[in-house]
Amino acid sequence: MAIDWFRFGSPQAFFPVAGKMVPWFAFLAVAFALPGLYLGFFVAPTDATQGESYRIIFIHVPAAWMSMFLYLVMAGWAGLGLVLNTRLSGMMASAIAPTGAMFTFVALWSGALWGKPTWGTWWVWDARLTSELILLFLYLGFIALKAAFADPQRADRAGAILALLGAVNVPIIYFSVQWWNTLHQGASVSLTRAPSMAATMLAAMLLMALAAWMYSIAVALARVRSIILERERDMAWVRMSAGT
C-alpha cells in the first residue's frame, strides 16, 4: 500500500498522467462554462431590485468559492508534503497558488464592481471583504516565500508551514457574515426568491462553479508539469524523455 502511494507521489510517474488529463479537464471547463454563461446572461430574468448588475453573481460567487477551496487544497497538498516528505506535494501546492490568487483577485474585483451599484461604494472595510483581502495576501506571501529560497526542498517545507498557518483564515472568511454584522450578503439569498428564478440562477451558478473547478484542475496540472520539468531537469528520466 505505502509503496504504491509513494510511487503515485513520484513526479516521474505523475508527469505523463497529468499530461493526459489536462485536455480533458480543459474540455470540461469549456463545456460547463458555455451553458453556464448562456443561462446566466441570457436566460435568467432581470432582478427586480438590482437590475442587470446582479449578473456579476455568476462570476463573483464561483470565484469566491474557488478562492477559498483552492487555498484548502493547496494547504492540504503542502501539509501532505511536510508529513510524508513527497516531492510531488510541494510542486502541486506551487502549481495551485497562482490560480488561487487569480480567483481571489477576481472575487475581490467583481465584488467591488458589484458593490458600486448596490452599496454605493466599491469598497468597505467589513469582515468578509477584509478577510478575503487577507487571503489574497496569503497567496502572494506563499508565492513570495517559496521564491525566496534557492533550495526547492526547503522552499516546499517553509511554504507548507505558511500555508497551514494561513488555513485558519478560510473559516473566518466563510463564517464572517454570521459572526459580524456586515454589509455583505449572507448565504443563500438566491434560494429565498421565487422558485423559477432561483432554479435558473442556481443552475447557472453551479455550472459556472463547475467550470471554474475544471479550469483550475486543468491549469494546475499543466503548471505542475512545467514545475516538474524545471525541478527535475537534472534527473535521468527528464533528460531521456527530452531526448538529450
Binding site: T130, S131, L140, G141, A144, A148, F149, R154, A158, L165
Partner: protein, 221 residues
Amino acid sequence: MAGFALLVRRDLRLALRRRGDIVNVLVFFVIVASLFALGVGPEPNQLRAMAAGVVWVAALLAAMLSLPRLFAADLADGTLEQLLVSPQPVLVVVAAKIAAHWLLTGLPLALVAPLIGLQYHLPANALGLLLVSLLIGTPVLSLLGAAGAALVLGARGAGVLLGLLLLPLYVPVLVFGAGAVTAALAGIDPGAHLSLLGAFLAVSSLVGPWAACAALRVALD
C-alpha cells in the same frame, strides 16, 4: 520550566547588554506617534479619531522592526543548533523566545501607550481600553511574528519579505485593537472587539509556536 526561564533570561540579558533595547523601543514609539501626527495634520478632532490606530500601527512597526533578528543572530553563530540538540523541547525554546520578545517590545509599548493617548486628547475610559487592548493584542504580534521570523530564516531580503508575510496577519489584530477604542469613543460597547482579540490570541498561541518550531527545524536541516 527551568529551561524556559534560562532562555528568557539569556535573551533579556543580551538585550539589556546594549543598555537600551527597551528604551529604544519606547523612543521609537514616541517618534512614530509624532511622525503620524505630522504626516496627517494637526486637527484635534482628527487626532482623537486616529489615536488608537496610530498607537497600534506603532506597536506593529516596533514588533516588525525587531523581528528579523529574533532568530537570525542565533542561527549565524551556531547557538540555534545547540538549542535544537539540547534536552530542552523545541517548543520551550520557541516559547521563551516569544516571551522575551514580548517583554522587550509589547509590554513597554502597552505601558507607555496611555501617555501617547493623552497627547492625542483621548478621554480616560478610552485610555484604559487602549492599555487593555494592547495587553491582549501585542502577544499576538510576538506569537505570529516568531513564526514569520523562523519562516524567513535563510531567505534573502528577509526584512521586506517578513513585512509581506506578517502585515496581513497583523491586520485583524490592528482592526480589533484599534476598533475597541474607537467603539468606546463612539459610546459603543467594546466587549465584542476585545473578545475577538482574545479569540485571536487563543488561536495564535496555538498556531504560532507550532509553526515556529516546524520552521526552525526546516531552517537547520
